[in-house]
């Protein structure tokens, strides 16, 4: 056994707190003075290491540690009792507040949004000349408003069923502006709106004669006779 391996084994034995060295190491140790010195220095190192660890691990405990923890626990207890008492009441109050406030906020938001759309999206109630409107209506009767595809949105507040008074249809911004303009014009001059409710004079359907097809090989006969 060489000295390097012996020293490795010596360190391992001391680290494992072995009572004796392995036989082969002991044989080498008996014959090698340098390894004997190494063993002694390692032994002292581990002794001082253990002593240092004991000093670190067995520090004197301050006598006020337990009373201090007692005091902090006593401070904690009333706070817990207070929380236990008021927590359900507080939770109920918050829930009630939410139940009342959320629909109100939702409704107010919808009102604001519709008012905003009516008032600020187009520049005021500027009346157009009646002749232009009539011409436009005659030449290009309004089609049914195009409805935007419905997107499912997660509801935050309680479900509110819309009434017929505040029914909303989602249309393009430009189309909405045109419709609003049209509605305002009709309000100002109701005669304009009559055109929408009168039956339009459409050109009569003309039946075009279709020539009869004659097939020479085809013989038409009642079903019973054919069988």
């Amino acid at each position: 056994m060489n000295c390097d391996r012996a020293r490795q084994q010596i360190t391992d034995s001391l680290a494992a707190r072995a009572l004796a060295l392995p036989a082969d190491v002991a044989a080498h140790w008996n014959s090698c003075v340098a390894c004997q010195d190494f063993y002694q220095s390692q032994q002292k190192l581990f002794c001082s290491l253990d002593a240092g660890l004991r000093t670190t691990a067995n520090a004197p405990v301050p006598p006020w540690l337990i009373p201090a923890v007692h005091l902090r626990i006593q401070d904690t207890v009333p706070r817990r009792a207070w929380i236990h008492t008021w927590l359900p009441a507080g939770a109920a109050a918050v829930a009630l507040l939410c139940a009342v406030a959320v629909p109100m906020l939702h409704r107010a938001e919808r009102r604001t949004a519709s008012a905003h759309a009516r008032s600020s999206d187009y520049p005021g109630n500027v009346p157009l000349p009646a002749g232009e409107i009539q011409a436009a209506v005659r030449s290009n009767p309004p089609a049914a408003p195009r409805v935007a595809p419905v997107v499912r949105v997660r509801r935050v507040g309680p479900r509110v069923r819309p009434t017929s008074a505040d029914m909303e249809v989602m249309v393009d911004k430009g189309e909405a502006r045109g419709l609003d303009h049209l509605v305002d014009s009709i309000r100002q001059k109701p005669a304009l709106g009559r055109g929408f409710f009168q039956a339009a004079a459409l050109p009569p359907d003309e039946m075009k004669p279709v020539p009869l097809i004659e097939i020479a090989e085809l013989r038409v006969a009642p079903l019973a006779e054919a069988q």
């Binding site: 360190t11 391992d12 001391l14 680290a15 494992a16 707190r17 220095s41 390692q42 002292k44 190192l45 581990f46 002794c47 001082s48 290491l49 253990d50 002593a51 240092g52 660890l53 004991r54 000093t55 670190t56 691990a57 067995n58 520090a59 405990v61 301050p62 540690l65 337990i66 201090a68 923890v69 007692h70 902090r72 626990i73 904690t76 207890v77 236990h84």
Partner: protein, 188 residues
Amino acid sequence: MQELVLNPPGRALEGDEIRQAAETDVRREFELRLVECGPLAFRIAHGVLRNAADAEDIAQEALLRAYRKFDRLRDPRRFRAWLVRITFRLALDRWRSAKRREQREAAWSISELRPTPATAEEMAVSNEFQERLARAMEQLPGKFRLVLLLSAMEGYTTEEVSGMLGIPVGTVKSRLFFARKQLAEKLQ
């Protein structure tokens, strides 16, 4: 068949009183364990932090946390192991944050504070050795540090350390071996 239970005469206990009685029981049981395990918490914290004031702070915090969650502890016999883990984790957190702060504030001075190497004999009698030992321990993995500390505490055998940490005795011994070996290598 339905069982009928007769209430004893007198006023029945209200919900609050039952809860208060239960809290009192929990508190009494905790206080017994506090006296038993409080010093252990302090020593673990001191072993990690090497500062009595910080260690006391951490020990108090760990004991308070243990108190707050004591009623949720399913097996009260595991209290000591539980407290050891809480304290060690808190102490390590404190040590890491202190280390970060120290590095941030005075990185340049750390190398100057590093002690000069000396022989083992000289070091053993001086505080310098303690300082070097502490620095070497800081470089060990947490599981090695905890086993070293608990094994070095008076009154705890390897079997008790194994029970406290919930690991086999062989694992405690192997951790102890590697920790001691690494420490010796660092202190050479």
